[in-house]
Amino acid sequence: MTKSKSLPSLIAVIDIGTHKTVGLVGQVIDGKARMLSFSERRTEGVVKGTVVDLEKLHNCVHEAVNDLERVAQRGIEEVYLTIAGPSVTGERVKGFVAVPAHDGKVTIKDFKEAMQSAKRLEPPEGRATILYMRQPTMLDGKGVENPVGLQGKRLEVNFWRVTMEEGNVRFRVKMINAMSIHVRDFILASHAAACALISEAEKLGGVLVIDFGAGTTDWILYFKGHILCAGSIPVGGEHLTNDLSVALRISRDTAEDLKVRFASAVHRENDANQTIWKDGDKGVGDQQFNRGTITQVTALRFQETLEFVRKDVLHQLEQIFPGHVMKLDQNFLPSGAILTGGTANLADAAEAGTTILGLPTRVGIPQFEKEAYRKPEYAGVIGMMKAAIEDAPPPVRRPQGVLAWLKDMFRF
């Protein structure tokens, strides 16, 4: 392990969600990550994953940065940001190269050329490329890990390209730059969460990670160690709250409270026999509700959202493997599905996931030194920190590896 003589640089990550903005500052000392400060604030100005009030969001992020700097007692110079939500889309881009025939072996030059030809494709008008993620490389139609030195005729390089509305990207960068902080990189939120939750072995086998946040539900699918595809459904935990507030004619805050205390991802017959109290003191203004109403409303919404995810996954798979009938099952994804994000806290979430997705589902809880942060809602920020540590110099960046794609990111 390289020991750095100067003060190790700070690594700061900020995850701006619909419900809350979570920031984390860490430091790598002697190859071991230390957490220096943590900040969590209610996000304002974001609805359904879309920024609706720039000023409010700006203030909110500014305060989060102030929190982080105050506790860490050092200024932050650069941050990693997550991106998620409806303005982020991904698509597969391909690059080809015909391997020169003199010896028929793929050289590094051929490989690079193929990669460049994939990246040469312009993103659609008004969208900026955020990052490229490596997908399986094909040599004469067969998937290979590293084609260099192999015999073949036609080399095909695939990337999952993530693009975002240009204005949205610019706004984020400006917002951070306004605090004299540099945006080091963007990380796809669902990928960040996955980094905290799954092992390399699980990625190799195939796994679906669903980040059920407050405003959006983002999913990402790993297959044979690569990101195969990712997507976002503009429905999240806020919708559960909203449905409860509509059904029970109660305020948003009351609905949120009841959701946390009584909601479930599965509706059971005997829920209807339970009566619950809003405040619990049975005093003036306290109301009683049928628990069955609450579980019915939330279960329907939760299951429907997973159903949307399932359809979206299948839809994208059909585009990647045209002509194949795709099925989500354990043969395809041996490691099943992992639910994370704030809404994964819902009771029986894993059970509902298993039923709807047809995959063994578990709730993903990030492994973290402090127990208070071992919650699904922190998977994003913790995973991002993990990814950032692997990316950040020093120590010297690894030239190849899972996070090699980080190198290819769009720089500002």
Binding site: K48, P86, H239, T293, L300
Partner: protein
């Protein structure tokens, strides 16, 4: 008696006649066309369609020379003939260019005669280019006031607007072609809804009820889309149609009539999405009438035409409060309920559709699931 579903498209004056003559070949056969002018030469374009020459006595077939009073007198002298023409139509669409003599002078009178004959009158008037001078402008605005008071619906288009829509080098014909496309497309879509065989047919009376009160500002827009997501694309195009963005144009209407025309692949959910997108932009809180029609040769093309008025027209149709989920009146297509009732905290935010459903509406409402009642 068979309900009266006929539509008459009338071009009045030089500009009106030329617009209508250009449009006529592309209209469905059910739309009858008539040209009315003082200038005998203009009526030659009629190509065998019905024509009425106004003011033979006053102008001897030479046009009005831009005199409004001559135009009015010419029209009044032909009243019996006009009355005969308008009788028997449910909807009369009166297209005219204001500013000259015939259009400015006769439009209001024609609207009166048609209304008396029992037709709903939708007037479409163009306002002269600003470089055509003060006199034409004044005549146009006076005529507009009169026409607005007589016609059930009045759509105005600034000719200046046409200049903004096309590139500087574009030939003159191109800028007119753009305007024809909006008007013609909207008329085609409107006309189609009266034709028997529509998927969700419109009642002429319903259209009439939307435009019931003369003098109310009228919203009129049109858009088309092709390929996947054509319906939504068409709705977006309609939302952005310059007709709805002209200075002084109505941008919100309490009652909307949305005509969706598509090929055989048009699905109900697509039609839904289009209607909802249009409603997001224009309102339609009181009533939204949908008419969907499938035309075999449309392929994957979808056209959306919107007609709207702000005067409360129909009696407030069933609102969400009184209806049980899932029992909304079919014709109103479930969107007549207030945003805030169904979408709760998301009321007023942009709609998000998945599989043709507005996902901000609680799942239990969309699936009409009965919730366990009482504590």
């Amino acid at each position: 008696m068979e309900p009266n579903r006929a539509i008459l498209l009338v071009g009045l004056g030089g500009a009106g006649c030329s617009i209508v003559a250009r449009l006529a070949p592309s209209l469905p056969a059910e739309v009858k066309v008539a040209l009315i002018d003082t200038d005998a030469a203009a009526l030659v374009q009629a190509n065998g369609r019905e024509t009425i020459q106004l003011g033979r006595a006053q102008t001897r077939g030479m046009g009005t020379g831009g005199e409004v009073s001559v135009g009015t007198a010419s029209a009044e002298s032909e009243e019996p003939q006009l009355r005969r023409l308008f009788t028997g139509y449910a909807l009369v669409v009166l297209v005219t260019g204001l500013g000259g003599g015939t259009g400015s002078g006769a439009a209001a009178f024609l609207a009166t005669v048609a209304t008396d004959a029992g037709a709903t009158v939708l007037a479409y008037a163009t306002i002269p280019f600003s470089h055509e001078g003060e006199r034409r402008k004044r005549q146009a605005s006076e005529a507009l006031d009169k026409l607005g008071a007589k016609a059930h619906g009045l759509v105005t288009v600034q000719n200046d607007l046409l200049l903004l829509q096309v590139s500087k080098e574009a030939p003159l014909s191109e800028s007119f072609a753009a305007a024809d496309e909006w008007v013609g497309g909207a008329l085609r879509a409107l006309a189609g809804t009266f034709v028997p065989g529509a998927l969700v047919p419109a009642d002429p009376a319903a259209v009439r009820s939307i435009l019931s009160t003369p003098g109310s500002p009228t919203l009129f827009t049109y858009g088309r889309g092709e390929g996947p997501g054509a319906a939504l694309a068409a709705a977006r195009a309609a939302n952005e149609c310059p007709l709805a963005h002209a200075p002084g144009a109505t941008t919100k209407a309490a009652s909307l009539f949305v005509a969706v025309t598509g090929g055989p692949t048009l699905s109900a959910t697509e039609a839904f999405e289009a209607v909802a997108a249009v409603r997001m932009r224009f309102g339609g809180e009181t009533t939204t009438l949908l008419c969907a029609r499938v035309v075999a040769d449309f392929g994957d093309r979808v056209e959306v035409a919107v007609l709207g008025a702000s005067t409360p027209a129909l009696k407030s149709l069933k609102k969400g409060k009184g209806t049980k989920p899932g029992e909304e009146n079919q014709q109103i297509f479930g969107f007549a309920t207030e945003d805030s009732i169904r979408r709760g905290l998301f009321g007023g935010t942009p709609l998000t559709f998945i599989d043709g459903q507005d996902v901000d509406v609680p799942t239990y409402i969309r699936r009409a699931v009965r919730l366990p009642v009482g504590p």
